[in-house]
């Protein structure tokens, strides 16, 4: 069942072509995970979207990288998802509870849930993402410390929860609470040029997706595969870490993880990828 086109080979010859313009663009192929789960990796953009079609970052990676994601056994990110499963069942805090104590079997209780985050959180009067929801459960229900950014199994547990939505289209509720104004603020962040290089997210991911920027093939910068396994780092990368990395690359100071600025950006960028299947853990270079 695992049949992959030869399209990837075109990209491999890049070095030899050198000055010849490539106009790479997204690869035309379908992602079917384990020969079973048909993933939506290209879809019509939602109303008001600046692009006509929303495309997963998977289409911009090499044939080998794409193949890794198509097979859960070979996907190196799955090792961390398994660690996330252990964290799900681990009792922590003064209440003697684990996530499983309240939510039971994640494959049932968490099915499709990850596709709906960020969500409006009436208690804090802000949007909340999976990482912050985990921390909310830890402090309010488990009597445990919140996990620090990217530490203590946060990426693994987030990936485990999102993986329960594998294949489910991303769909967030922008009518809830004050989500509209967070979306608006996120849009502003997206188009703000930062740093000495004076670039915005849109400079690279809206105006230039499909183009090479030196050795990197620019995608639309969607986050349906997060936390993503990055081959370069040999580790999972969280959404806010990726945002911060891209902002840093413009030679700018970057905002703190879970700051209002990055939460707004997460709301907005999630919306830009509406309708794409959750791919967690995606595999990228």
């Amino acid at each position: 069942m695992k049949k992959f086109g030869k399209v990837g080979a075109v990209l491999v010859t890049l070095g030899a072509l050198s000055a010849v313009a490539l106009a790479g663009g997204p690869v035309d192929q379908q992602l079917v995970i384990d020969g079973e789960i048909e993933m939506i990796t290209r879809t019509e953009a939602p109303d008001g979207h600046p692009l006509d079609e929303v495309i997963s970052g998977w289409h911009y990676r090499t044939g080998e990288t794409r193949a890794l994601e198509a097979d859960t056994f070979e996907n190196p990110g799955m090792l961390f998802v398994e660690q996330g499963e252990a964290a799900w069942n681990k009792i922590e805090g003064t209440e003697g509870k684990s996530c499983a104590s309240c939510h039971g079997d994640a494959s049932e209780s968490m099915a499709g849930i990850g596709a709906q985050y960020p969500k409006w959180d009436a208690d804090s009067g802000k949007p909340i993402n999976v990482e912050l929801q985990i921390n909310k459960c830890r402090t309010e229900n488990m009597g445990a410390e919140p996990l620090p950014f990217d530490k203590g199994g946060q990426k693994e547990l987030t990936a485990y929860i999102k993986h329960q939505s594998l294949g489910t289209p991303v769909s967030i509720d922008l009518d809830a609470g004050d989500m509209q104004s967070w979306w608006k603020k996120g849009e502003e962040v997206y188009y703000t040029r930062t740093g000495q290089l004076n670039l915005s997210c849109a400079s690279c991911h809206e105006q230039n997706n499909g183009n090479y920027i030196r050795a990197d093939h620019l995608s639309q910068g969607n986050i349906n595969g997060f936390p993503t396994y990055r081959l370069k780092q040999g580790a999972l990368v969280s959404v806010h870490n990726r945002f911060r990395g891209c902002i840093r690359d413009t030679r700018a100071e970057f905002p703190a993880a879970f700051s209002d600025e990055l939460m707004a950006l997460e709301v907005y960028v999630t919306w830009r990828g509406s309708g794409l299947s959750v791919e967690t853990p995606g595999v990228r270079q």
């Binding site: 930062t194 740093g195 670039l199 100071e253």
Partner: protein, 154 residues
């Protein structure tokens, strides 16, 4: 006329910017691009095309290859395609125009261009603290790149 204005500016700023920018060099906020061109050298020292070729490719300096392909640098593995190919660029632009493009391309193309200004303080928000008030390239590095670009003819 144009040259004179820039020269005066460079002398005036030598005092104010003596720490950050060598004297005799036009400071970035004193550069005046007129009609899409910058006639006078930023430093008065002729650019070195061999150095310019290196600065063009160097990821920490020009990193021009991130966005532009150029046949003259075939030995480099990766060439970007965000901007146009630069083969024959000196047939399309004069030296003064090339200098203006590298200094601050927004003056020639549009505010919307994604090409950074390499000798400009017209930058994005929240610039990394250690880079505030600094340009991507020095005036001499710009001159070197311009000298290199003027050799790129078809």
């Amino acid at each position: 006329m144009i040259g004179r204005r820039i020269l005066t500016a460079s002398l005036a700023c030598a005092a104010t910017f003596s720490v950050a920018f060598a004297s005799g060099t036009v400071a970035p906020d004193k550069v005046e691009i007129v009609d899409g061109a910058l006639e006078l050298s930023l430093t008065g020292t002729p650019g070195d095309p061999v150095e310019g070729r290196k600065t063009f490719a160097n990821r920490k300096l020009g990193n021009c290859l991130a966005c532009h392909a150029i046949s003259d640098q075939k030995e480099q593995l990766f060439h970007g395609e965000v901007g146009p190919e630069l083969d024959g660029v000196a047939d399309r632009w004069s030296e003064a125009e090339l200098r203006a493009i590298v200094v601050n391309s927004k003056e020639l193309f549009s505010e919307e261009t994604v090409m950074p200004g390499f000798y400009s303080l017209d930058v994005g928000v929240n610039v990394r603290k250690d880079l505030i008030g600094k340009t991507i390239l020095t005036a001499q590095q710009v001159e070197d790149i311009v000298a290199y670009l003027t050799t790129i003819k078809e």
